[in-house]
């Protein structure tokens, strides 16, 4: 698409908006869970006991949250009420904060 002919704005479908917001929440949850299980050994042990390895449980929790929240937000159309640019900004911010949060945690804590 040539930017000169592109529409100035546009709306995202309920499914896209819902899953974008779900992704932003999930990446933040992912980092928070990594911090929590690293800081609190019983949680790590519980996650280990559920699937045999804490990392497997962690990944499944992320997947369930992303898919579940995505479907809920799609059906309720909640995320579609948010301006698409703010939604995209929230996703980029969430990914940057979550990635930096992981690196700093394991570097200094």
């Amino acid at each position: 698409m040539n930017s000169a002919t592109a529409p100035a704005s546009g709306k995202l479908t309920a499914a896209t908006s819902g899953f974008v917001l779900a992704a932003a929440v999930t990446v933040l949850f992912n980092t928070a869970l990594a911090w929590a299980k690293d800081a609190y050994a019983p949680l790590n042990g519980l996650m280990q006991s559920l699937t045999g390895h804490h990392w497997t449980t962690h990944g499944l929790a992320d997947l369930v949250l992303f898919a579940g929240l995505g479907f809920i937000l799609t059906n309720t159309r909640m995320a579609q009420r948010i301006d698409p640019n703010r939604l995209i900004g929230a996703l980029i911010g969430a990914v940057a904060a979550a990635a930096l949060g992981l690196a700093l945690w394991f570097a200094f804590v």
Binding site: P7, L12, T16
Partner: protein, 162 residues
Amino acid sequence: MAISTSDIILLAHAGFGVTGCLAAVWVFVEALNAQPANARRMRTAALVTALSMAGAWICGGYWYVHFYPLEKTLILRGPWPFAHNLFMETKEHLFFITAILAFLLPVAAREKVYANAAARKLVLSVAALIAITGLAVEGAGAVIEHGAKVALLRGGSIGAQQ
């Protein structure tokens, strides 16, 4: 030549990861030039991204759970313990972010990217984030493997001196 199952799984993990990153760059380029004519190709590339990252997850996860503990012990006893304490710990969790973004990409690519500026911006952003975080994960993998290598080399040199 002795190539073990562990080697194949590990290399498949890295191969799937690189393929996912390249496919994300492919989506980025298609979105930059979004037209009705390349919409289907962009959706295919987005699907390749998601499937590749799923493959990287399955292979990497299997290897991490079944084969990494031995390498972890080696790294922690070697001169580069940070290869595990910082790089592996960050990588194993950062990968989930890359994978979630990869699963989001086919959903975003279903939009009419050629006619919707917001959808185009979203696809460009998600594809770029996948490529950036994916390359960071790949780089961390290289540091981890070097951590194991220097541990083995040091162990070998100590053994040679004795």
